[in-house]
Amino acid sequence: MIFFWIDSKRKLEVTYESFFQKIIEEGVNNRYIKNSNPYIVFLNLIRNCISGKKSIILDADFSDEELLALQISKNTYSEGEFIQNNLSEKFKSFEDILFFIKENNEKLEIDIYTSGTTGRPKKITQLFKNLTRAVKVRDALKDSVWGFAYNPTHFAGLQVFFQALFNKNTIVYIFNKGFDEVYLDFVGYNITNMSCTPTFMKMLLPSIKEDLIDVKSLTFGGEKFDSKIEKELKKKFSGATVKNIYASTEAGSLLKAEGEFFLIPNRYTEVVKIENNELLIHKELLGTSESFNLKGDWYKTGDIVEFKDEKMFKFKNRKSEMINVGGYKVNPSEVEAIIKEIKGVEDVIVFGRDNSVMGKIVVAHIVKNKKEDKKEVKERVKKITSSKLQDYKLPRLIKFVDSFDLTRTGKIKKQ
């Protein structure tokens, strides 16, 4: 009996056998997936998939406003419904399902949404082939137990899911819960592998009481690795190999490094290149989206690198204005557009400020109407932003200024 999914917060323990039964169960399914229980997200994803339907995966905390901006309404939801039946004939075991996914990975599709550069999240349609490109299936991996530490609806989360699924590994859901409890999960379920953002690790480390020697592999992605935690990592995960990955929302995980220096592996020399110190990805590796900024066949990532020698390079910064908050990308224009509409606000600038906990935090400088009270405007801004935006997009510092003397990159504006 192998467990597929363990979520102690929701008191869920699901074996692969019962997961399989749920997948082939007859009933109504929906191509639109928006659920706060990650198990349901993955169950519906696989159900859609074996019926040959494309899934549209939405963050559970998207507000109605954010959904409307994506042109998704309650009506659109019901259009996604279909009846699933007669699958028990076609699929006799979980292995049949894996086989089907692999066989059809050039046809099966999924829509995910990622912070857009134009003021709203952008839709990216991905083939399963791309989602599962980095998956490795090996005998040596068959006893792995994954600590699942990403949002399930984002690229990184989907990649961990498929990595575990294809090896029939157990997944322990440790995202969005207290870090003392995460530590207990590590001990109680013998977690061996985890992929997370450096910020997640920084938060987890103080809760780890004893060396977690069973952990074999740690992978960091989403933001620049913080070498300050290296010493602590060696003490608390002494048996783990540590890898950093460079991943883009458009193409998923691409490059791996043991320290901060990356190189383009031979199998990618045709599809990943560096031009004018910017990393470019060939369109073959991308999903499809209307909002890709393509230069011929190449996608400009906006990620700027610095070379150490002819081959090795490290990531420096981003050309774009996106704010990387602990691995989540926030578009300042999206936040500004919402604050600008609020009563009492005359003008606003939203930018990222350097922060040693999360890399960057979102800051809003507001010019208010002179007649309005500071405290009232601040309350209003907080209330309205938190009802209209996902948590990680909210400004954590709100300051009132007479005029803007900072640019969005946090630099002093040249007058």
Binding site: L205, P206, I229, G326, S356, V357, M358, I361, R396, L397
Partner: protein, 75 residues
Amino acid sequence: MIKAVTEIIKEIIEDNGEKLTVEITKEIQLRDLGLSSFDLATLTVKIEDEFDVDIFEDGLVSTIGEIIEVLEANV
């Protein structure tokens, strides 16, 4: 010093619509205050604004006492 740090923590917790229910002493663990990673990030920038010190700069800080130590060493 502890008074100023307490004020900042109180402000962050109240901004979340909650109330600070424990007395802040040097032994208190930051995670026992129920602070999220966003709250910790906010805490660092607020302390930075007041004392010009980044409390997380040299690595991890887990108790109030450790924050005070970093501040006293740098201010």
